[in-house]
Symmetry: C2
Subunit: 231 residues, 2 copies
DNA sequence: CTAGCAGGATTGTTCATCAAAATTGAGCCC
DNA sequence: GGGCTCAATTTTGATGAACAATCCTGCTAG
């Protein structure tokens, strides 16, 4: 019998510590756009809201800053990171590096791993067909994550995750714009099929184009967001 | 007039907060092997030693855990990470991905950036000639960092830094073994010169061999350390 | 209208406290 | 002697209150 439950129920997501759990919840909120870029993360308020002490919350926020999801100014506290154009270029440079390499090395991947790719794209296609755009975008990123996973490095997987989480900040400012991203699902399909049929070089070319186009679009979004902010 | 100075003088390394400064100092200590892998990071003791509160120290340790320099067990605290063979494979998979990609993309790099590579190798050579092996190893890693830097992504640079810091954990267990690493300096030179002369493919091949050999050696080191621990 | 100055709010950091779990060690049984 | 139990001690995880330093805001004075 729950005697008293705080604003948001306190379920331990990991077999781990409170600060990590809090960080998870903040990450989640940020990624769904609930805490849009620029939102100040005031520790007293958030601590109360999440039912933890200010100290614990501060630890969590520090992790987010370390992950690049928030920025910090001395005596001014933390705020959800706002991507600028340079960030987007940086993120896509990182994606190109990791994803293209993964494609090139995919010859060594077991077919089982390649089947996994197919599953992700199929998920994304289903979501797109049902016009659940947001979900389609998530699954699409899942496909790219699976591509990186071909390299077999947990550290690279983690790096991709944090980078992708940062990229979501761009969409978080423009929730409706996520629809646009769904247009990339067919191109995921192309890359996926080329990979499975061994068309390594073609897959790399297609993926590079994909990333270039996507980058351009996200840059435009970020610029638009900056302009809208100026109004 | 310093009225009272704590065990280790408290200079703010960043224009930032105490926890980050403490994390820096712990990182430094770990990387120079002063806190060898397996060392428990007891917060009361370290907090006293560094002249900060237990809370602040805990924030710093959590950052180290997040970076993979320490591991954490609930109710058992944190300890300096001890690399296992899987970690080494993982780290080298990441290095191959990032460094080889950098070499392949180096065609687009300004010659000025390539000159920077040369400077690093020269530093390493000088240190090796003077038989300052430890320093030579540091400069050698600096060369590889500069290679990654060709990709122009601050995020990839950071990723390489944390990965390299983890790799140092292997050497931290065997301080004397750093000598062996110095033997790689001539091979850095080869890769560097091939890059500057535009021998992109050859540079990639040489670098891949380099990484394979280095990985083998580090794996052996880790195995030896595990065996020695068993004694 | 602007400069500057209170006063309140927020941050950065420390300290003291408490429960929960791990570790230690003494005593005990076989 | 070897191995076990169980209590005392230590360490961790987390909280709440305190305080100085800095910021923000709104008011006043010129």
């Amino acid at each position: 019998m729950p005697d008293e439950i705080h604003a948001e129920a306190v379920e331990a997501p990991q077999g781990d510590v409170a600060a990590d759990a809090v960080a998870d919840r903040l990450r989640e909120r940020i990624s769904r756009g609930e805490l849009p870029p620029g939102t100040p993360l005031r520790d007293a308020a958030l601590a109360g809201e999440l039912g933890v002490s200010r100290n614990t919350l501060r630890e969590a926020v520090r992790l987010l800053v370390h992950e690049g999801l928030a920025v910090h100014q001395l005596y001014k506290g933390a705020a959800v990171k706002r991507l600028d154009v340079a960030d987007v270029h940086d993120i896509y440079a990182a994606r190109r590096c990791v994803e293209l390499r993964a494609v090139e090395e995919s010859v060594y991947s077991p077919t089982e791993a390649l089947e996994n790719l197919d599953r992700r794209v199929t998920e994304a296609e289903r979501a797109a067909a049902a016009e659940r755009w947001n979900e389609a975008g998530t699954f699409s990123l899942g496909f790219h994550r699976a591509v990186v996973h071909l390299l077999g490095s947990a550290r690279l997987d983690r790096f991709f995750d944090t980078t992708a989480a940062q990229l979501r900040l761009a969409f978080a400012e423009f929730p409706q714009e996520q629809d646009f991203q769904a247009q990339y699902v067919p191109r995921d399909r192309v890359v996926c099929d080329l990979l499975r049929s061994g068309g390594r070089a073609e897959a790399a070319t297609a993926l590079r184009q994909y990333l270039d186009d996507s980058e351009r679009q996200v840059v435009d979004m970020v610029r638009a967001a900056a302009a809208a902010r100026q109004n």
